[in-house]
């Protein structure tokens, strides 16, 4: 899978928010670590298309016991008769590199961590390109993840099981619902034959809205 990590996204994860110029030394460090991360990781992803039927609790996925609960996911899938369930990961090798860099040098460890997060996003982007190719002619909404808005994070284990993600992408989940490897993403994308609003994340459904540093400063993270 060809992925390209977005440097600006890395800087955003680092807290720079695109409004500060990074010094030359750190700029170089970011570039070096990005190259190292790209060389080290073994991105993996799995996705499957499901028919959805509305229920009182929220959209249900055909052929599974999974119900996507909440008003926000219902809104997200409005006008869609099917959805893509996906799981993408920058792999355990990303975690290992971050661990190593933290032991070696905290600054590099921190940057590597931010690059790892950007790498997971990059895997998702690559996967979305693949989806667009495979599902030509379909209209898609954006990637809505468990924990956004009122879609409970608690569905994570079931979502991973439905995708057989431990086997097919090497992604598992702890009892505390954290995914391992840590730089992994699960998401739901709505599919429709008719145009749907792609939308974007925005602050309303973000679970960091209360403690967001960007918001406090009156700016936006860009997602």
């Amino acid at each position: 899978m060809e992925i390209s990590i977005d440097i600006n996204e890395v800087k955003r994860f680092m807290g720079y928010g695109g409004m500060t110029s990074v010094d030359e030394r750190q700029e170089r460090l970011i570039a070096e670590l990005k190259a190292l991360m790209e060389k080290t990781i073994k991105p993996a992803a799995v996705w499957r298309v499901f028919d959805i039927t509305p229920t009182d609790e929220g959209p249900a996925l055909a052929g599974t016991a999974l119900v996507l609960k909440g008003a926000d996911i219902r809104r997200h899938l409005a006008g869609c008769d099917r959805c893509v369930l996906l799981c993408a990961t920058a792999s355990a090798k990303a975690d290992e590199l971050i661990r190593r860099k933290q032991r070696e040098d905290m600054e590099q460890g921190f940057i590597a961590d931010c690059i790892g997060s950007a790498a997971a996003e990059a895997v998702c982007n690559a996967l979305e390109r693949e989806l667009a190719e495979k599902l030509k002619g379909k209209y898609m909404t954006w990637r809505f993840s468990p924990g956004y808005g009122d879609l409970p994070l608690a569905i994570q284990p079931q979502l991973l099981a439905v995708l057989d993600a431990p086997k097919r992408a090497g992604v598992t989940c702890l009892d505390s619902l954290l995914m391992v490897p840590s730089k992994s993403v699960t998401a739901v994308i709505g599919l429709s034959d008719k145009p749907v609003e792609k939308g974007r994340q925005g602050c309303a459904v973000c679970n960091m809205a209360d403690s967001c540093r960007f918001r406090k400063e009156g700016v936006h993270c860009g997602l």
Partner: protein
Amino acid sequence: MDFKKLMNEKEFIILDGAMGTMLQAAGLGAGENSEMLNLTRPELIEEINLGYIEAGSDIFYCNTFGANRHKLRSVGKTPAEIIPIAVEIANRAKARASRKAYCALDIGSIGQLLEPNGTLTFEEAYDIFKEMILAGKDADCIVIETMTDLIEAKAALLAAKENSDLPVLCTMTFEENMRTFTGCCIESMAATLGGLGADAIGINCSLGPRELYPAVEKLCSVTNLPVIIKPNAGLPDPVTNKYNVMPEEFGELLKKMIPLGIKIVGGCCGTSPDYIRAVVKNFEGEKCAAVKKTLPSMVCSANTAVVIDCPRIIGERINPTGKKRFQQALREHDLDYICNQAIEQIDAGAEILDVNVGLPGIDEKEMMISAVKAVQSICDTPLQIDSSTPEVLDAALRIYNGKPIVNSVNGEEKSLNAVLPLVAKYGAAVVGLCLDEGGIPKSVEGRVAIAEKICRRADEYGIPRSDICIDCLTLTCSAEQEAAMQTLEALRICKEKLGVRTVLGVSNISFGLPQREIVNRTFLTMALTKGLDLPIMNPNIASMTSAVRAYRLLANIDRNAEEYVANYGGETPAATAPAVKQEEMTLGYAMSKGLKNDAAAITAKLLESTDPMEIVNGILIPELDRVGAEFEKGKLFLPQLIQTAGVAQSCFEVIKEYLSKNGAAGVSKGTIVICTVKGDIHDIGKNIVKVLLENYGYTVIDLGKDVDPALVVKAAKENDVKLVGLSALMTTTLGGMEETIKLLRANHECKIMVGGAVLTPEYAEKIGADYYARDAKQSCDIAKEVFGQ
């Protein structure tokens, strides 16, 4: 079940096809628990088992793949309630069948990753598998399958070998890059699982027979065990969820693998009895092409296999002997220090790392386990476990991920009887020292005789010669000048006569002489020409590492001088000059520019004329304060704060080294226990806080991540700390934080600060914390307040 007999009687052993696919066809939803069907629909499982036997399976799998404690929790059952019933069902199917077949207790992945990727410990995983194995004792054999993590496969295999006499088949799941999701390579799997005593090894799931061909080819070339292949029915279509290889084609593709040497075949996801029938048809009348090969000498971690087919550098620096700073690190349980010793040596060219943590007054066994785990969590370099205590070796061999070298056994009866069984059990390689009850023989013949004795005894345990590394022992040249040539002569003879590898600690040769590097390097070069395979040396000394690389070039091992040029080709004699020369630089300037090496050098220079504490309080801390203040004002950002902290850390390291050398204890401003709470594994925030607190002179006891509340209390009480810092990243782990605070309040009088991405001051107050730390800088301010500085 007599597995060997079955192997001899049958040209090929046919396994079954998928269970999950059959269950889904019968109405099981994706992601639903399939083991419950043993209780709710036993007749369905029996029909599936029977269907495979009648299709031609010699061994079929019981419906127990996910019947482990962890996965069954969601349906409120235990392995003991499910597994015996699944085996009973299988035995009923056997009794009804028209042909003979055997049933296997099927053991899949637990569903949670082990340390260091996840939180499950090796012993917890072992225990989960042991429970399954005891519950499935009435099966005919054990199958461990779909493993992606070598250490998990090892836990399962060890649990099987130690709790059952049944034959064990072991398969792992590889991707197209011929690695598992956790990065395990085929050579490492073969060496590790083969060494641990698996009866057959192989590959299952993930891809179809077409895509897996290269992986099977590789596996067949690196093992003498029967090879298993159980692929999926091709690849599933994400839209229709249908697999793309049909039964007939499946059978044909598997048949194409016969020349590779496969012995045991079946199908995984997407296959059915039709696929097995197609395999049987295609394999009829064919002959197994497996041949016995001479396997190379090899050691490995899960991700890296090092073949000892030419001189390989063993780094010797993880060893406290004669190193005060290292001893201090061991006493302080400073795993960061040990990890950095590992990274430094690897960057310098070490290919294997010796790990020795023996020091009077410390618990060597516990320290060895911690050190091996820590080093393996940050690098892929294979390790050499170095201890004179068999108990320590045993503990390290258990949790080691891969195939290590044991350092060492010698010709003494006591040593042979204690160490060789461990080497055999865990399938390790071993260093054999040419000494015995009578000491080190002076003569060449005497040393060779001991080497022969070690080899003979190793033979009795089934340890192959390729796993024995004989050390003819380097004696100090200044004391016994004639000994150097005797050592080298003994080395040559052992290598030629015994078919072993040779290993030698080279640095000892020059003890007591001036300009030791000259002697060491020359002795190393001489030894290499006599056939030394494994020099144990300090790779950080450039002339030593370059001697090995130059040898590999001259001996025509390093083809086209690729390695040599890669390492020395780009070297320019003078580094580009910095904007400011180091002599003119102040420590403050170096810190503000993130110049770690310069800052360390300036600190070392300052120490010649300045009191260490004056450097700390007069330069380092004020600079940190300045950067911290800028950070608070929003003029500087977190990465820049960490950058300065990193530079300060390198200065502190120089000061620590200095104090340690001069026997002076460092001055601590107070001790703080910190951790990432139970359930949470995102520890970067906590690690940043740690670095900063240490910079301000606090002693930080870092308990790591996913820490049990009881451990936090224990550490807080034992060290009588006044301040505890807790970190949690996710809303789901804030519960772990609250629980820890409650337990601390009930047991120990101290202040508690909390921090983490989703935390708010209000929430911190609600769960009973004394302080909310917005960021690492504020953690330091809180510490100052608590400790009154």
